[in-house]
């Protein structure tokens, strides 16, 4: 049924998008930053990429991954002696021969990128300067790229899935189209309620132990399975005519009310309060909180798109052909909603990146282990004369946020021009 599916043609949209010079450049910036994030260990590392000691060849950066995965261990000579002090026969170093956490004692106390530095070779120079402890700023920025993109991606994945699920459901079914037998509705309400009761109240023992994330996800999984099974049962019983009388479920009103409540909570204050509640908030907690709070905009957008699409002819045709709701949503509606939704995902990414940077800037977000642009920028406050700590991390945040905003803008221009 391909002729039913796509009024917006994707290749055309792509061309429209890339034909805008500014949006194209912004998109390239994001691509480059994504590559930097992926290859960050190969770009800035205190270990050489390849080295030869006493006739034996090593690939320390690759080995680092194996060690992190628990597949291998370091040889004794590498544990006792710093990498920079080893005597190599041959060594190929990454472009920046420092990791984000490497402390260079000789160039501590905020060494300026312009000042003379105590380094043996030009390649070991700190091109963007160092912080109080002598950590290389360029290496920190590269590690921060990974943090920023990871937080943005995961947070948007969470916000996107919740927002799209609720938004499309509200838009597609509206207040009148989800009909079911009172019995099924009753079983559904009681069943879902009980699943959450079991995992949140009966198993509160697990919550005490700090397993709340696992339990929430398990409950989510079970309630989805239960809802699917119930929908199957509902169709079966309606087909063979056991359940004739139906009541309507005002899904749109229910979901709108949830959206209203979540958006009434002041986001920034709530995030600050929650990060203070969790004992040692790690990067995954931050992602989860940002994701759980920022889905409302996406849901609103998905709902509006769905309402627009619902009245289009091709969707009505699909309904006339007698396809099930699930099939219509998945095969015919969702592909067309996803393209415009990219706009709000792009703006959402920029918001999430900004929020993470701000939280680390306040020192409330990530643990000390993770390097973030925000925490690097924060160090500028403690030493006014270290201008490089103020300029470069901020520039990185600005570049990424601006690029995502420009991509969002470019997408919305492209879609505006593609759809009549």
């Amino acid at each position: 049924m391909t002729e039913l599916s796509n009024p917006i043609q994707h290749p055309r949209l792509r061309n429209r998008f890339l034909s805008q010079p500014i949006a194209r450049r912004a998109y390239r910036v994001i691509q480059i930053l994504a590559v930097i994030a992926l290859l960050s260990d190969f770009l800035a590392n205190d270990k050489p990429l390849y080295c030869k000691i006493d006739g034996t060849s090593y690939f320390p950066v690759f080995k680092q991954y194996a060690v992190q995965l628990g597949l291998s261990t370091w040889d004794a000579q590498f544990v006792t002696k710093r990498w920079s002090e080893q005597s190599f026969e041959v060594a190929i170093w990454p472009p920046i021969p420092y990791a984000a956490h490497t402390i260079d004692l000789k160039n501590g106390r905020f060494t300026s990128p312009l000042a003379p530095q105590r380094v043996e070779k030009l390649s070991r120079r700190h091109w963007l300067g160092t912080d109080q402890l002598g950590r290389d700023l360029a290496a920190g920025l590269i590690a921060g790229t990974r943090t920023a993109l990871l937080v943005g991606l995961v947070a948007m994945a969470i916000a996107g899935s919740i927002g799209i699920l609720l938004g499309t459901a509200a838009g597609y079914f509206g207040n009148n189209n989800l009909r079911t037998h009172p019995f099924i509705a009753f079983v559904g309400l009681v069943g879902l309620g009980w699943i959450w009761y079991y995992w949140m109240v009966s198993r509160s023992y697990g919550l005490l132990e700090g397993r709340w994330l696992q339990q929430v996800l398990t409950a989510l999984l079970y309630s989805m399975l239960f809802a699917l099974a119930l929908a199957r049962l509902n169709r079966l019983l309606q087909r063979n005519g056991t359940l004739r009388t139906t009541i309507r479920i005002p899904l749109d009103d229910i979901i709108l009310r949830i959206i209203e409540i979540v958006s009434a909570l002041p986001g920034l204050m709530l995030i600050l309060a929650i990060t203070a509640l969790i004992k040692n908030p790690g990067i995954y907690d931050i992602m989860l909180i940002i994701g759980l709070i920022s889905w409302t905009g996406i849901a609103r957008f998905a709902r509006a798109e769905m309402i627009r699409i619902r009245s289009l002819e091709y969707l009505q045709a699909a309904r006339v052909l007698g396809y099930g709701h699930w099939r219509i949503i998945r095969r015919h509606a969702l592909p067309n909603i996803l393209t415009p939704l990219l706009i709000s995902l792009a703006f959402g990414m920029s918001g999430a990146v900004l929020l993470e940077a701000f939280l680390s800037f306040l020192g409330l977000g990530l643990d000390a282990e993770a390097t973030s642009w925000g925490s690097l920028l924060n160090m500028a406050k403690s030493n006014i004369s270290a201008w490089w700590m103020a300029v470069f991390p901020g520039l990185a945040i600005f570049a990424l946020v601006l690029s995502f905003n420009l991509v969002g803008e470019g997408l919305s221009n492209a879609i505006e021009r593609t759809t009549p």
């Binding site: 500014i22 009761y197 079991y198 109240v201 009966s202 198993r203 509160s204 023992y205 005490l208 009310r257 209203e260 409540i261 958006s263 009434a264 909570l265 002041p266 986001g267 920034l268 204050m269 709530l270 600050l272 309060a273 929650i274 203070a276 509640l277 004992k279 920029s350 900004l354 940077a357 701000f358 800037f361 306040l362 409330l364 920028l377 500028a380 406050k381 006014i384 004369s385 201008w387 103020a390 300029v391 901020g394 945040i397 600005f398 946020v401 601006l402 905003n405 420009l406 803008e409």
Partner: protein, 473 residues
């Protein structure tokens, strides 16, 4: 239309109640003991039973004063395994341990018996003379006190075994300990876990913590700060004055600059200068406020780079000798940088919206008609187009305001202005929870008011909105 406004306002009430309930529940999940926070850790380690009793009495008094001896909500839906009155156990650690035991074993009578035996055994150890076996008694007392906080079976077993090994030389204790052991074994042997799976409805009535909290909030009593015992509402009111001044100035300037700029861009839409301005505004919009604030502080407030033009603090030191006029100028001088940081973001946003709205209006046929009548360009733009394009911009205010307040968080924090932002961050860092939840509640109130105002302004600007909604429902 009035009925629509009334209905819209009434609809906000349930939202507000749910939000208040969420904030309240969040406040009860806070780690730490509010009673100890209020007593400021006055409790010292004591050894004799009398002073422990005294301490316990003081604790109970404070807890009662805070209303913590009441049920949390009008009703509860806890499992049938729970007793009616778990809320009467005041110590959070103890309550937590009991909850853990209930969740694992589900048999409250047995658990209660174990708990009472534990209290009794503890009392027995204090009734014995210290001279009997000082070291053993001391360590057994500590072990028993810690046992109150344990809920993992293996840790309780280990602890009981440990005490059993210690009291070999004190025959007076062996019998109470055997009773305790038996009580614990009964808990383990007689499990009724399934009682955790069935919810039970229990009604507590209006004398509950939430009721007292929300009626306090409604009457302006927002609780007391842990730090200095002053009223949360006074603290917030003081901070709110600064935030409102700051944001009022910033939004006013933003509107004054953005509206003509947007009109200018719309009139020249599509030309080079419009495109250039558009990109510039977009960049301004994406500039992180905390970065710009940091840059300004670094470069413009210190002699380090030769540009010591502004004070780093966002407010002047207090001096009663100054005249009002002087004080005003001095405050303005101090507020230039913070207000700038707050302005440029809203400015870019409003100008872009103004441009969009104006471009739309300029495309309308009636503008063509006006030109065709031979009216001068300025008259068409300002009299015919501008008035109609302005409406949606006014409604933006409701959205700009909450955004500006959360933006001023950053700026206030960096420039040390004693407004809401600094108050919040400081309260969170100092774990001053009553203040944190007060601010959270106020933030929710303001956001709901903002949404409500946006809806009402929208309807005023375009009456079709309200009626359309009416028809749908």
């Amino acid at each position: 239309m009035i009925t629509y406004f009334l209905r819209r306002t009434l609809l906000a009430v349930p939202t507000l109640l749910v939000v208040s309930f969420l904030v309240f529940m969040l406040s009860r999940q806070t780690p730490g003991d509010p009673v100890l926070a209020l007593q400021q850790g006055s409790g010292t380690a004591t050894t004799d039973y009398a002073s422990i009793e005294l301490q316990d009495q003081a604790y109970r008094k404070t807890a009662t004063f805070l209303g913590l001896d009441k049920p949390q909500f009008y009703f509860s839906l806890l499992p049938t395994a729970y007793p009616d009155s778990l809320y009467r156990f005041l110590y959070p650690d103890k309550k937590r341990a009991l909850k853990g035991l209930i969740a694992q074993f589900g048999n409250w009578p047995r658990i209660e018996a174990y708990h009472q035996t534990l209290v009794h055994t503890e009392r027995v150890t204090y009734q014995l003379p210290d001279t009997l076996a000082p070291d053993v008694l001391k360590s057994v007392r500590t072990a028993l006190r810690l046992l109150h906080n344990h809920y993992q079976p293996e840790r309780i077993e280990a602890s009981l075994q440990d005490i059993h090994d210690q009291i070999a030389g004190v025959p007076q204790l062996s019998e109470p300990l055997q009773v305790l052991r038996a009580a614990w074994d009964a808990v383990v042997a007689d499990q009724k876990v399934y009682r955790n799976w069935i919810p039970a409805f229990r009604w507590y009535g209006a004398d509950n913590q939430y009721h007292h909290w929300i009626s306090g909030v409604l009457q302006g009593d927002w609780g007391k700060s842990y730090l200095d015992g002053s009223n949360v509402s006074t603290k917030i009111a003081g901070a709110l004055r600064w935030t409102l001044t700051l944001n009022g100035a910033a939004i006013l300037i933003a509107y004054l600059l953005a509206v003509p700029l947007g009109v200018y861009m719309a009139v020249h839409a599509g030309k080079k200068r419009d495109q250039a301005l558009n990109v510039l505004l977009f960049m301004l919009y994406s500039l992180p406020g905390f970065w710009i604030a940091t840059l300004l502080i670094v470069f413009l407030t210190h002699p380090e780079y030769g540009m010591d033009w502004f004070p780093a603090l966002g407010y002047p030191p207090y001096d009663p000798g100054r005249s009002k006029w002087e004080a005003f100028w001095l405050s303005s001088y101090h507020l230039i940088l913070p207000v700038f940081c707050l302005t440029y973001g809203s400015l870019a946003y409003i100008a872009r919206q103004m441009r969009g709205s104006m471009v739309k209006v300029l495309r309308q046929p009636y503008i063509q008609t006006a030109y065709a009548k031979g009216l001068p360009k300025s008259a068409v733009i300002w009299k015919h187009a501008f008035k109609n394009a302005l409406f949606p911009i006014i409604t933006l205010f409701a959205g700009v305001f909450p955004a500006a307040i959360s933006g001023s968080f950053v700026v206030e924090y960096i420039f040390s202005i004693p407004g809401m932002g600094k108050l919040t961050v400081d309260a969170i860092m100092a774990k001053d929870w009553p203040l944190v939840y007060g601010i959270l509640m106020l933030g929710a109130l303001l956001t709901i008011a903002g949404i409500l105002m946006a809806d009402i302004l929208y309807t005023l600007a375009d009456p079709r909105v309200g009626f359309a909604k009416k028809q749908k429902t």
